[in-house]
Every structure is written in structure tokens, then in C-alpha cells.
């Protein structure tokens, strides 16, 4: 198998092979997964059942114990600063073992913001809870009136003495029902350029005046929420950076969010799963995989996936040779999410009528499946994945970014 080593120096020739050190690392990861991946979590994951809050925390702690949680963080803040190749190997091994997806809000979002923009005191206060997963973070960005046009957000924070008084509504807040803290974009200035009146504020979810209401999505799940703030008192030293710096911090963060968003390793696993299963779906004399119409779609997805993987690797190698993730990460967001949707759709095509039975999550867990055992989760997954081309900056917005920032249009 040919795999790129993405940290080549510009002067060296391209190299698609792993070094002995990398191969040893891969062996390490496999051994670790064989012995440390808890069987109860594995069973839920393999059956595509929802995880409890505790399952996710437990798994993040296991990874942290090995130093494979804060892989992108600098060492001085408690990270591992794993090389891009090792990171690549780790992600592929974790995905192929179907381990839980990490909750990104603390480790990939709030953490990097705090160690990049926070004071020494703030780093001391917030980073340990993120590193050991004792504090669950959620993200307060979108508002009912501010989706794609995030900068129009209205949630207001007024400084009174040593406190900000926060009023407003955040929406699409993922897993806010589990969260201890929320990082928010708030408006501290209502006049002037709208981007310059935005600040980055950390709010304890237990504060008086914070209310969380569930939003149920078309797959029947409770993943996102409305979060209401009614005269919530927030100490002024919960502000990250200066007043008015929030938009720049948000832009920094969106770049971080977009590089992981393609979910390449998980896509490889799902495509392989689709291929394996469809090879065993009997149609007439052969299998569904022998049906040229169906097979062509799988192969086309595989080619697109490989292209996206290597686009990501090229972006990573740019970062490791000193660049920052730029607007190119928008390509990864668009292509990655299109593939996620495409593959979830092919599962529906494969199942045909057996994609229609619709049981609740609890029924899925306790009942015998209707049709093949892989059937139950396919439709909820397909429906849920309509969100991926909408969230994190809709794919229309991503195309605007590319057209403006890269093509100069």
C-alpha cells in the first residue's frame, strides 16, 4: 500500500512510504486498541448505537492517558505535538477500529483558543479540564437570526462593574445538554463595523439565567439545542483576548474546525464497510456489488475520496513546512461532507426497502433488528448527515470563501 509521508521538505523528492519508526508506531496503536478499547463501548459503536456522555469521556481519558488526545497541542501546554505522519496513522487506526468520535469543542476549539489568546491565568484555569475531559465544552456561535451571516449576531454582553450581563439566544448548540461550559461569541459593541463589536466569552452553564432547550432533528435524535441567556452574570475575566477581538478568534477557530471536518479516515472505513456488505447482498445470480450501476457509484466515490485524502495530505504538509491552514481547508470541508452524504445515501440504495423501518434509539438497542442487522442505523444516519453541508459554514459559504480568497473573484 502506498501512503504519503506528508512532512517532506520542499527540497526532497516526494516519498510515499512509511519509515520503520512510523511502522513501529502503527504497531503500537494497534496493540493499544486491542488491549485498551473498552468492549462495551466497542459494541455500541459497532451496532451504531448512541453513546452516553460517560462513554465518550471514558474513551477520551483512555486516549489522554497514552498522550493521544491533545495530539495537535504544543508540548508546553500539555499536548503531544504528534508528527503529521503519526497523526495520520493514528487517525486511520482509530477510525478503522470504529472508536468514538472525539468531542471537538474542548480539545480542538476552546483549548487552542485559550492557549493562543488567553492569559497565563486563563490557561491555568481552563486547559487542565480540557486535557482530562472533566469539563465538557459546547460552542455558542449561531443564533436564530445569524446563520451563514454569523457576524450579525445579537447576543449582548454589557459590562457592569466586574461582570458582563449577557442576554440573547444561541442555537444549533451541539450537545449543550451535556455541557459544563460554553464558549460564546457575544456583542460588546453595537455601533461601528459589526465584526469589530464581537468578543469571545466563556460562560459557566450552571450560571443563573442559562436555559437549554432541545431541538429534535429529522432523524429523531436530540443532538442540538437552543441556549437562552437571561441576564446572565459572567465575570469579566472570562473574556478571552480583548473586547472586539472575538471575530478574529472565530476565524482562527473556523480554520481549525475545517481541517478535521473532512473525516477522511472514517469515510474510508464506511466505504469499505459498504463494499464488504454489498458484496454479500445477493441479487439474482450475483451480488449487488456485481451490479455495474451500483458498483460504478462505489468506485467513483472511492476515487473522489482518494483525491480528497491527498488534498488533505498536501494541506498538512504545507502546515508542517511552516504554513497555516488557509482557505484551502474549505475544499476539504466541501469534498469531505459531499462524500459523507454520498456514502450515507449509497447505504440507503443498498438496503432498498429495509432502509424504511424506523425505530427509536432505544428500540434499536433492545430489539431484534428488522431486516439485516446493519439496516436500522442507515436511514437515521442519512437524514442526520443532511446537516454536514449546512454546519461549520454551509457549503455555499465555503464556495464563496474559495472564490474570494483563492480565486480572487
Amino acid at each position: 500500500m502506498c501512503i504519503i509521508r506528508p512532512y517532506f521538505r520542499p527540497s526532497t523528492i516526494m516519498d510515499l512510504a512509511f519509515s520503520q519508526e512510523d511502522l513501529d508506531f502503527q504497531e503500537d496503536v494497534r496493540n493499544f486498541l486491542a488491549s485498551e478499547y473498552p468492549l462495551d463501548i466497542k459494541e455500541k459503536q459497532d451496532k451504531r448505537l448512541p453513546l452516553e456522555r460517560e462513554d465518550i469521556i471514558a474513551w477520551q481519558k483512555i486516549l489522554a492517558s497514552k498522550g493521544w488526545f491533545a495530539i495537535n497541542w504544543p508540548k508546553e501546554f500539555g499536548g503531544t505535538d504528534l508528527s503529521p505522519t503519526k497523526n495520520y496513522i493514528l487517525q486511520n487506526e482509530l477510525a478503522s477500529a470504529n472508536t468514538p468520535i472525539l468531542i471537538p469543542f474542548g480539545i480542538n476549539m476552546c483549548g487552542p483558543v485559550v492557549y493562543t489568546f488567553g492569559t497565563a491565568e486563563q490557561k491555568k484555569k481552563y486547559l487542565p479540564g480540557i486535557l482530562n475531559s472533566d469539563v465538557w465544552w459546547c460552542q455558542g456561535y449561531s443564533e436564530p437570526g445569524s446563520g451563514s451571516d454569523l457576524a450579525s449576531l445579537q447576543t449582548k454582553a454589557e459590562l457592569k462593574g466586574n461582570n458582563y450581563i449577557v442576554n440573547g439566544t444561541k442555537t444549533w448548540t451541539t450537545l449543550a445538554q451535556h455541557a459544563d461550559w460554553i464558549f460564546c461569541l457575544v456583542r460588546t459593541e453595537t455601533t461601528g463595523i459589526k465584526q469589530e463589536g464581537i468578543s469571545f466569552l466563556l460562560i459557566d452553564m450552571k450560571s443563573k439565567g442559562v436555559e437549554v432547550k432541545p431541538i429534535i432533528t429529522i432523524d429523531g435524535s436530540h443532538e442540538v439545542n437552543m441556549v437562552y441567556f437571561d441576564d446572565v452574570k459572567v465575570p469579566s475575566n472570562n473574556l478571552i483576548g480583548d473586547e472586539g477581538q472575538g471575530w478574529n478568534i472565530a476565524k482562527f477557530l473556523l480554520m481549525h474546525e475545517r481541517t478535521g471536518i473532512a473525516g477522511i479516515a472514517a469515510l474510508k472505513r464506511e466505504l469499505k464497510r459498504l463494499k464488504d456488505i454489498s458484496a454479500n447482498v445477493i441479487v439474482g445470480e450475483g451480488s449487488l456489488l456485481d451490479d455495474s450501476k451500483f458498483r460504478d457509484k462505489l468506485e467513483a466515490a472511492e476515487i473522489e475520496l482518494t483525491a480528497t485524502e491527498f488534498t488533505e495530505l498536501r494541506t498538512l504538509s504545507q502546515i508542517s513546512s511552516g504554513g497555516a491552514p488557509g482557505p484551502e481547508s474549505s475544499i476539504l470541508k466541501i469534498k469531505g461532507t459531499e462524500l459523507q452524504q454520498n456514502i450515507s445515501e449509497l447505504f440507503i440504495e443498498m438496503l432498498a426497502y429495509y432502509s424504511h423501518p424506523f425505530l427509536t434509539e432505544t428500540e434499536l438497542g433492545s430489539n431484534e433488528s428488522i431486516g439485516p442487522d446493519y439496516a436500522g442505523a442507515a436511514m437515521p444516519h442519512y437524514l442526520n448527515f443532511r446537516k454536514v453541508s449546512i454546519y461549520g459554514g454551509s457549503n455555499e459559504i465555503q464556495r464563496n470563501v474559495i472564490s474570494k480568497a483563492i480565486l480572487g473573484l
Binding site: G145, S148, I370, R386, S394
Partner: protein
């Protein structure tokens, strides 16, 4: 050439449209979907009183002698309200099948109660391995002492939970994929050896897994002749395909219009998002997919009513187009509504879910494209 409805047809259309508007509000529908039955027996009574349940059945069977055109009109309006009453299953599929190949006694016994709204039916035509091939039947029926002994399994039987009787396809001779040797039986759900596992489907409707274990079925339950069921089954599925495409056309009309309206009112970046050209073109494409589907719906329905030689081919062409359009319009309506589009609260997601199942029901685009090229 005339694509206008006659006076009676116009009347039916406005009658159904009025029902949807007045008696089928969205909130009411959502309550029905969540209820045990999954629809309203009151509504069903109304359908019977207004004559809709017998409209497409022949006069000889006690119907009103209408055709696929009347069914199309009703189903298109039903699509606009996302009606969950099992009109497609009981009336179009099953009663249509009995009307086409049942004997006088069967018609009298079954169609009368269907037309008066007292009987529900379901058709078991798929098995776990069959996908869209109606001839792929492993459920077996063997003659025994003048009766039939039937064993097998029927999957995702739409309206199964609510049906008083089931019609199933079973093999009386031949190999697994043979068109010859398939027989159709009307069976009572409470016969010994018949068991159902009922469940809701993603579109808010109901279905069953039906297990048949040495069920003794009297020979009087045989529809048409032994071994000659395939052509009748195919005919019934073709009729139901037309009807479900009409439903899809109605649903797609609501979706593209709702989306256009939403983008006129939703403001971002200081203007209605409908002002952005990239979204305008997307909605133009949605609109065109809808129009193209409606055109093929009319074409295929007329060919079917006229008994034209290429009616089957026209139906496959239609289902291919509708599958393509339903996917595009459904997905893009959600996309253009943004986060709101994926919420349970908004009707958009529910229209999307029904269109998603319609893409599969009676054969997806791949299947119908292949069938089109073979016919």
C-alpha cells in the same frame, strides 16, 4: 391535444384540495402520525362518503368506473398534504389488483367493503432477497387436500398493521426468479401460522414483517389462476407506481414553493437569501425538475388509460425522473432551509422523508432505468 381536466375531474380535484386545506392541517397530521393507528379512521370515513375509495374501480365491481387519471388527481393532492391514510395500499394497490383479476365472488366480498371504507388491505410483494424483482419469490404454496399450504416470509408490507386481509405472492411452481408459477392469495391475518411484526416507517407510515408458517389457505382465496399471478401483480405495481409518482409530484410542488417563499423572507448579509444568484439557479433547477416530472406523469397516465403498447415503458421513465427529481428537490429544500430544514418541527423535513421512501418504493432510479431500456 388537451391536458385539461374535464368538469368532473376538476370537481374531484378541488374537493380533495379543499379537504387538505380545511381538514388536514399540519399539526393535525402530526398528531395522526404519532397515534397508535397512524392515521384517522374519521378521515377514512370521509373518503368513503365522498366516493374517493371507489372512484377508480370498475362499475362492475361497484366502483365509479374512473381510471388512473382520477387516481392521479387524488394522489397529487394527497401529496401536497402528505396524507398518511393508506389510500395507495388499500385502494390503488390491493383493490386495483382484485378489480383486475379477482372473480365475481371475490370482488363482491372484498371490494364492496373497501369502497364503503370498512376494509383495509395490504400487499405482500417483497421478500428480503427480492429487492425490486417481483418474480423473485421464495414463499411457497403447495396444494394439499384441496387447500394450499403456504410457508414463507414477506418483508416491509406497507399498511400491514392496519390491514384486515393480506394479498401475498407465493410460488406454486418454477424456480426462484421465474415469472411463471407465481400465484396470488388473499389471506386472513388471523389464520393460524400468520404472524406480523409491526413497526413505523421513516415517512410516518406503518409496515409489517409477515411470517407464514404452514398456513392453510382455502383454494377460494386464490386470485386469478394458479401460477398466472405475475402479470396481474406487475400491472398492479405499475398502477401504484403511477399513483405514488403523482403523490411525489404534489409533494415536490409544496417543497419547491415553500423553499422559494422561505428564501424571500430569510435575511442574511442584509438581504433576502433568495437574492443570491447561486440559490436562485438552484431553485430554478428544482422548479424544472418538478415540471419535467409532472409532464411525464401526465404522459404516462394518459398512455396507461389508453392502454397504449408502451405504457409500461412510460411508467418506468416516469419513475426514473421522479426518483431523480425527488432526491434533488428533497435534499435541496433541506439545504436551503439551513438548520431549520433538519428539524422535526418544520414540515420540510417530513416532505423530504416521504420523498426519500418514494424513491425506493416500487423500484429506484437504477432499476427503472434498466427496465426502461429493456422494455
Amino acid at each position: 391535444m388537451d391536458f385539461n381536466f374535464n368538469e368532473e375531474q376538476t370537481l374531484i380535484q378541488s374537493q380533495v384540495a379543499q379537504f387538505i386545506q380545511r381538514d388536514y392541517e399540519w399539526e393535525k397530521r402530526q398528531v395522526l402520525v404519532a397515534s397508535d393507528l397512524g392515521f384517522s379512521s374519521e378521515n377514512w370515513k370521509t373518503f368513503a362518503e365522498l366516493g374517493w375509495l371507489g372512484i377508480s374501480l370498475s362499475e362492475k365491481s361497484g366502483g365509479f368506473g374512473g381510471s388512473a387519471l382520477e387516481s392521479m388527481i387524488i394522489m397529487e393532492e394527497f401529496g401536497k398534504g402528505l396524507v398518511v391514510e393508506p389510500f395507495l395500499e388499500t385502494v390503488i394497490l390491493c383493490a386495483g389488483l382484485i378489480d383486475s383479476c379477482g372473480n365475481e365472488e371475490q370482488k363482491a366480498d372484498l371490494l364492496g367493503p373497501v369502497i364503503s371504507g370498512e376494509m383495509h388491505l395490504a400487499l405482500g410483494f417483497t421478500e428480503p432477497q427480492s429487492r425490486f424483482n417481483l418474480a423473485d419469490v421464495t414463499t411457497e404454496a403447495k396444494k394439499k387436500n384441496g387447500d394450499y399450504l403456504v410457508s414463507g416470509f414477506k418483508s416491509v408490507v406497507m399498511n400491514g398493521p392496519n390491514a384486515d386481509k393480506l394479498i401475498i405472492s407465493a410460488r406454486t411452481s418454477g424456480k426462484q426468479d421465474d415469472k411463471e408459477g407465481i400465484s396470488l392469495f388473499v389471506i386472513d391475518k388471523n389464520l393460524e401460522g400468520v404472524s406480523l411484526r409491526n413497526y413505523p416507517t421513516v415517512d410516518g407510515r406503518r409496515a409489517s414483517e409477515v411470517t407464514l408458517e404452514n398456513v392453510i389457505i382455502p383454494s377460494s382465496s386464490l386470485l386469478s389462476e394458479e401460477g398466472k399471478g405475475y402479470q396481474h401483480l406487475e400491472g398492479a405495481i405499475d398502477g401504484a407506481t403511477l399513483a405514488i409518482c403523482a403523490e411525489a409530484v404534489g409533494a415536490m410542488e409544496v417543497l419547491y414553493k415553500t423553499t422559494v417563499e422561505y428564501t424571500k423572507t430569510r435575511e442574511q448579509f442584509g438581504q433576502a437569501i433568495g437574492k443570491f444568484q447561486v440559490l436562485q439557479h438552484r431553485m430554478v433547477d428544482m422548479f424544472m425538475e418538478y415540471e419535467q416530472s409532472k409532464s411525464l406523469l401526465y404522459m404516462a397516465t394518459i398512455k396507461n388509460v389508453e392502454g397504449s403498447k408502451d405504457a409500461k415503458k412510460a411508467i418506468s421513465g416516469l419513475k426514473y425522473q421522479v426518483g431523480k427529481a425527488a432526491k434533488f428537490i428533497g435534499q435541496q429544500s433541506v439545504q436551503l432551509h439551513g438548520g431549520m430544514g433538519v428539524t422535526e418541527e418544520l414540515n420540510v423535513g417530513h416532505f423530504f422523508k416521504r420523498l426519500t421512501t418514494i424513491i425506493t418504493i416500487f423500484g429506484n432510479t437504477d432499476y427503472h432505468l434498466k427496465r426502461y431500456s429493456q422494455l
